[in-house]
Symmetry: C3
Subunit: 143 residues, 3 copies
């Protein structure tokens, strides 16, 4: 929930805080599409931090901002060992442009490996597998 | 949940019943848009009742009816004092026109102040902050 | 949840497993539209099995495949007798075509009669009442 809220208010530091110290994040297109190239691949803390820096500083002012709303539908939840849990959810992200019209930005599946052994739940890894290839706009923020 | 169900079946009296005696309802456009004008502002019981009357009686027959489906994604929930709870949720409302095509009507955030001290939960206040400005049709029913 | 997951991965046998031995499935258009014709009506186990066979074997290769994501918003839940429960939920199904663009396929209401008396919950009956009449494509899979 914090993850969704962080992204929808474009708070990249809060997004970073959702990941464990050794957490990773990857978005890629749907398995079946036969396009194995990851769009975003942040497999170390340093790369996660880089993404925050790029969105907040490097790209700042170079893109047209946009509003998103995330919705998730959990459909599978399996207990792992050591306080780990694997969750799979459908996601749909809506998108509102500057003119105020709303549309679907992207849909797909989250595959999350979550560490519940600490007081605050964190992602060990989060994979966002997108159905949507031709998004109505360039993606700046993670999904 | 009763709130969503009431709106989706266009039952304005059931909608009214979701509010506490001194409850208020407001919809307005996104904070960031710099447009502070509320689209709907019902800050007293009398104004809430007026809205029911307008939709059910005054406007009756003057607009093309439309079907909606509400979906909410809660992302924040904080306990207040005296059995009060503050909840923030993303919402997406779909819209189906008379021709039977479905689209996104509006997306945004609900900011709810809920009174749980009575047997039935009621809204002390409900704010619907909409991302979408150019909705595909004129809004008759509350969001 | 298993139901949604089965459909979104096009696993018709897993879909069948969500129904009780004497379970039934029906999709039809919105009550108010005055079109009482059911689009899909599988009121016996044999007809449910037939649907699996049609999608998996008979129609195989005759249609352009498409990806769906199901999202549900439960809004009513009433306890029946003998471990039965009646649930009503809004649903929205997104659709991604081969070109990779996503849109709304269909919205509506599920009316589910669920048997919780066995270790695994099963549908006694599932009705999908669709708002959307002019879907962006021919429906192959159940909703």
């Amino acid at each position: 929930m914090k993850y969704l809220a962080a992204l929808d208010r474009h708070d990249m530091n809060a997004w970073l805080e959702c990941f464990a110290e050794e957490g990773s994040y990857i978005t890629r297109e749907n398995h079946d599409a036969g396009l194995p190239v990851a769009m975003m691949l942040d497999d170390t803390r340093a790369r996660l931090k880089d993404r925050v820096k790029f969105v907040d500083e490097v790209w700042s002012g170079t893109y047209e901002d946009y509003a998103t709303r995330h919705f998730v539908q959990r459909f599978e939840c399996t207990q792992g060992s050591g306080g780990r849990v694997n969750v799979r959810s459908n996601f749909i992200v809506s998108y509102t442009n500057r003119q105020g019209g709303s549309d679907i930005l992207v849909t797909g599946v989250y595959e999350d490996d979550i560490d519940l052994s600490k007081p605050e739940a964190r992602f060990k890894s989060k994979r966002a597998i997108m159905d949507t290839v031709t998004t109505p706009r360039y993606l700046v923020y993670p999904i």
